[in-house]
Symmetry: C2
Subunit: 298 residues, 2 copies
Amino acid sequence: MSVTVVGSVALDTVETPWGKNEEGLGGAAVYFSLAAANYTRVHLVGVVGEDFPQKHVDLLAARDIDLEGLERTPGKTFRWTGRYHDDVNMRDTLDTQLNVFERFHPVLPVSAQAPDFLFLGNIHPSLQLEVLDQAKASFVALDTMNLWIHTTLDDLKAVLKRVDAIIINDSEVKDLTGEANIIKGARKVHDLGPRIVVMKKGEHGCLLFEGDNVFAAPALPLDKVLDPTGAGDTFAGGFMGYMSQQDDTGFDTLRKAVIHGSVLASYTCESFGPDRLATVTQEDIDTRYAEFQRLTQF
Amino acid sequence: MSVTVVGSVALDTVETPWGKNEEGLGGAAVYFSLAAANYTRVHLVGVVGEDFPQKHVDLLAARDIDLEGLERTPGKTFRWTGRYHDDVNMRDTLDTQLNVFERFHPVLPVSAQAPDFLFLGNIHPSLQLEVLDQAKASFVALDTMNLWIHTTLDDLKAVLKRVDAIIINDSEVKDLTGEANIIKGARKVHDLGPRIVVMKKGEHGCLLFEGDNVFAAPALPLDKVLDPTGAGDTFAGGFMGYMSQQDDTGFDTLRKAVIHGSVLASYTCESFGPDRLATVTQEDIDTRYAEFQRLTQF
């Protein structure tokens, strides 16, 4: 089984109340891959510039992530700079430099064209369509953001018709559907295409919808969130990776996949960048999976 | 086993996007009592004016709630008027008329002085202290609000030293402790006295803390929230009522008590005022308790 992910690879500068991380490894495809690689073979498709440090490539390769689709082109790597508030649920983007990402058109190497699972990271919907035209996956999920909902809704709707699942923030569901009630919002998203809706709510956990089935998972309460950057993409990686490992997309597997995604996302929050995520072991996953059971059972 | 509740009895005028309810039965002690009465004997302590409709008294009596402590005095009943936004998590208070509540000093009849469980509804902390001086309960919980945190913090702290549990909104935890992180916030509340902290998060459910034990419960996703007024007090009533019925305050009972509170709160949201809550049957409780199991198990 394997998963292909297409998305950003970045150098992130992140400031939180507890410190600053300058030009660290970041990007949706990076967090997704490091999470999913705990469960399955991952093909990463993205682009970096000439300045992308070799150590970051080595870190990804060490987790056995296939980097054939990681293009290196002339120019500088995509950079993002953000600052979190004391309440780490809130952040400001201080700077975004697209650099080589601006002219990026994903090209899937043969190895990545027929995965069992395909994740379309949060990139322009027209690029997501280009990926869909190249890939034959049995299960496709996507992420998106308010920017695309507001500026390229037609393209986004064309993508939504062709995917099985969407992994989306609750505020984005409201923007996409105009519906404040989450149940009605999820139904309206179903009507746009995806039969599975995963609604992320940050520290409040997430909700999983498939038809009339609903599953609610809390986030693991953490006493120190050093840097939540990438937690959503980590979640998606654990979610898709687990489904790929189980080779199943039934609702009971989806429930467990949500917990696996939440487990890995909790590790991502505990360090700047993906440092902690990159060293997660099977034992770490088992320990925290059991914590989720204690946290939720009654 | 029995529970005594001290709190407001009100006539509420509530406007939501789905309609308006003029001068309906309301107040924290009412919602609490109607919820707790599903599990245990309830003594209601509060005050109403001469204008309080007899049909409301009859409704409470029909649920076998002891009304010996419901004082009727010259003057008008406490009135609250509020309007909910399209996003029913947000509301504006349009008018508050304390009326007879302004001079209220709770007097516990003998029958209500030695309950197993005592709930101090959201009233002035100095009144909560007056109640504590009159009652001998083996387990005391209280509710409070931002107003008391900001205006009478010393009194509130004196109450907190004498209670076992606090049932409080997440935003109030932040106000009370200055701590944005919920785990640290809960610990700081523990340090103020209560060994049990129940943190309500509205549509995101709630968190239960006792020492290092944590339990997370979602709210039941509802496709129509007609009027959430009283949901928090209903939750507290189900929570305390179930503990009283079980005659136990161990963590496993507390987990189930949180679900019972959430079950009843979900019914409260489905009608204006306490109409739906007042007709809840054991079968209704069982049905929705099972829904919570399906919603959370993995």
